[in-house]
């Protein structure tokens, strides 16, 4: 966490209604067909979106598969129902506590990878 000691200045957020967000976005980065620089910018943006989506889907599928394997292991490894930890079967303890470390690890890995994708986009666009 790179939290600086002084809080950032307060930002007044206006226009709760209507398409304010959309109109201000339109002026942000023009991508007209007559403008080659705008075309290249649009290509960079599309590739950023694709890489972020691919990353998110990969991580989500990885999480689902890992969870599935974990559950199958609990169900099919023999003896987990008859081994007791402080009076609770190990199979129950594993299902009750085992998936959370996985969730946190996967989340932290995604955080770094998504940041890398954005850093790559920045290095591409800030050269110009």
């Amino acid at each position: 966490m790179s939290d600086s000691p002084t809080p950032p200045p307060r930002v007044r957020v206006t226009a709760p209604r209507s398409a304010g967000a959309a109109t201000s976005a339109r002026t942000l980065r023009p991508s007209g067909t007559d403008d080659p620089a705008g075309d290249i910018a649009a290509v960079y943006v599309r590739s950023l979106i694709r890489s972020q989506l691919r990353l998110a889907i990969t991580v989500a599928v990885g999480f689902a598969v890992a969870t599935l394997l974990f559950v199958l292991a609990i169900a099919f490894v023999p003896g987990l129902d008859d081994t007791y930890l402080a009076g609770v079967p190990v199979s129950w303890v594993l299902l009750g506590a085992g998936i959370y470390p996985l969730v946190i690890t996967v989340g932290a890995l995604y955080l770094r990878a998504a940041g890398r994708n954005e850093a790559r986009y920045r290095s591409l666009t800030e050269d110009e």
Partner: protein, 488 residues
Amino acid sequence: MNPAIGYIAIVGVALVSALIGFYGLRVSRTTSDFYVASRTVRPWWNASAIGGEYLSAASFLGVAGLILLTGSAALWFPIGYTGGYLMLLLFVAAPLRRSGAYTIPDFTEARLESQWARRVTSLLVIVIGWFYIVPQLQGAALTVRITTGLPSWAGALAVAVLVAVVVAAGGMRSITFVQAFQFWLKLTALALPVVALLLVVGGGEPPAQLSPAEAFPVSAGPGDLDVYRTVSLMVALLLGTLGLPHVLVRFYTNPDGVAARRTTVIVLVLLSVFYVFPTVFGFLGRAFAPDLAASGEADALILLLPDRLVPGPLGDVLTALVIAGAFGAFLSTSSGLVVSLAGVISQDLLGGSVRGFRIAAIVSTIVPLLVALATESSGLAGSVGLVFAFTASTLCPMLILGIWWRGLTSRGAIAGMLTGAVLSGAAILGGPLVAASVPFIAPFLEQPAAWTVPLAVIVTVAVSRLDRRGTPAGTDAFLTRLHVPERR
């Protein structure tokens, strides 16, 4: 149980929440302060606030109650409640923050440039919010009845009045403080009793009512998995979290997209730590209070267990603590929901002024109060799970496709949201009637998400492709805004 303990704990939490709320009022002056806390909230504060808001009656009382009632199948609920934030992190957190919108309807309108899409979204947000508040008020009714002996309606009414007053007075800035406080209150209120109970039980006195093999039978264990129900529940909980209005509105208070992601990872940690404690409570309940499952009071397990296992003053203190935590859960989730509902109602119907927000806050509380007074609770974790299924079938496809697929059109989004709403709504409301006569479709109606979510997605995509008007003119610019990192 001594009613004085209940009164002291409930009044104490109510006073502290109200005080923090009014303290926040002094720094909350402008319209933007009211809606999104001026976007200066730090990740740890924000994460605590999200945790405080999210951990509702279902998490605080319902999970332990369901573990007592049904066994290890209930362990999937906290897994899904936590995993939902992973999906939120992957697909929604940063783009949503960058969208620059206040509420989900604002997002819909900015993305799809359609007033009709906005209206449908607003309507869904309001319906979801109302049905999510109802179990909170039912939890409050249960807590007040069990701990003080007052009639059920007193608890529901007390929470509703307090929430309406605090929200109408302070808005979200104060609510961020209140919610962050609530998370740590709820964690402490479960963690300390769990540690104390484990120490007492570890000493061998009182002895368990059931042997480990009887308390944790293999037939209720992880090996005996109902595959369809579990998968469908996970679809509902993982994807439903994305669309919960009170969760989304909290992401707008992050300074930027990267902070929104960091906040979400911290939330994953906080939730993972929290859910250890209701789980242990549930395990203790299976061994030491199996009679509560039979008497239909399983949701009161957390409130009753400390007094049963630890007699005397220490038991009273622990009981006061869990009551305070439970009451905190009802207050925090309800107020978070009322803030987001009031934001939507006041912007769409009342012109977005501070006065409109106050009126909307009161309206958003009265409707669920009437529903809660008219109906009986049928298991807190289960009814909240159904709200997740409805959210996953309606707002989630629109949000994910809106953020990641440039082909989404307003007609497609509206068609998909209505399909999801009609199918999942019919399954949830009509299911109990049909399931009795046709038992083999009962699981599909009781846990509809596994088929309603894919159908909603298919309809959204198909109608968008057939829509001859094509995507809105500003789509590329808007997607750029969602995904391009902020300038440093």
